[in-house]
């Protein structure tokens, strides 16, 4: 058994496909191909964070709440998605697929590890960052996938505006990072 796993680990195809990171260009081409497949099969371009808002709504409904009167979920499309439910939502399947796929990739590269939390500062930054990203993505109608990648791919000017401010935000974020985490 040990010799077999040692053999697999040395196999050049295993190393190329599972162990080493793929080149950026491979990733770019695959993302584009799957973006087209997503648009063709679901009628909507790829988005990630809108799905999380729906998950929130379903969780809220699960404990007896109702989002029927919420402005964000007021459109017919949003209501229809919520009514179809968790298991009938292409976006939900895709997000679960991303998590499962990422897990598979780390396991296949034998790179899986439970990581230590280094400091409370890290926890605070993660929670704050997550809240800001989630709030920003919803108020701006998209994250870097829905608004940036899908936006630019659909020749929407808003995607480019997003790109400019994403860059500015990243500059400010990097400065803060160096200030508080170095």
């Amino acid at each position: 058994m040990k010799t077999l796993s040692a053999k697999i680990k040395k196999n050049p195809y295993y190393v190329m496909w599972f162990k080493d990171a793929w080149p950026y260009i491979t990733g770019a081409v695959l993302l584009s191909v799957f973006q087209i497949a997503t648009l063709a099969s679901t009628g909507n371009p790829w988005g990630v964070s809108a799905v999380f808002a729906n998950w929130g709504a379903w969780l809220y409904e699960l404990v007896g709440g109702s989002v029927d009167k919420w402005y964000y979920f007021a459109s017919e499309g949003a209501q229809a998605t919520l009514e179809r439910g968790f298991l009938q939502d292409p976006g939900t399947m895709r997000n679960l697929g991303i998590i499962a796929g990422a897990l598979f990739a780390t396991l296949a590269a034998s790179g899986f590890k439970f990581k230590k939390i280094k400091s409370w500062r890290q926890v605070l930054a993660a929670v704050l960052g997550g809240l800001l990203m989630g709030y920003g993505a919803r108020i701006g109608f998209g994250c870097n996938i829905g608004a940036l990648f899908s936006g630019i791919a659909s020749f929407s000017l808003s995607g480019w505006v997003y790109a400019v401010f994403l860059f500015l935000g990243a500059v400010v974020g990097s400065k803060l990072l160096v200030k508080f985490f170095m």
């Binding site: 590269a109 034998s110 590890k113 939390i117 890290q122 990072l177």
Partner: protein, 75 residues
């Protein structure tokens, strides 16, 4: 010929890279910097940066999801 270890376990990008850059600036030619990481993105950008700077780089897989990037300062 010094050998310096830099503990970047549990640190996410781009912290390991910035720490490695700062630490490298303090070293003399011939010294070795060992960056300990458990973040797979850092596995790409730390060696990439060091090779671009012209240093000798070796990567050692210490454990599942743990690596040491060994950088020898050559200039």
């Amino acid at each position: 010929m010094k050998e310096v270890e830099l503990d970047c376990m549990g640190e996410a990008c781009p912290v390991p890279l910035i720490k490695a850059e700062k630490e490298m600036a303090k070293l003399d030619i011939g010294d070795v910097l060992i960056v300990q990481i458990d973040h797979s993105c850092a596995m790409k950008n730390v060696p990439e940066w060091a090779r671009k700077e012209g240093h000798n780089v070796e990567i050692e897989e210490v454990d599942d999801g743990e690596w040491e990037v060994i950088i020898e300062k050559v200039k």
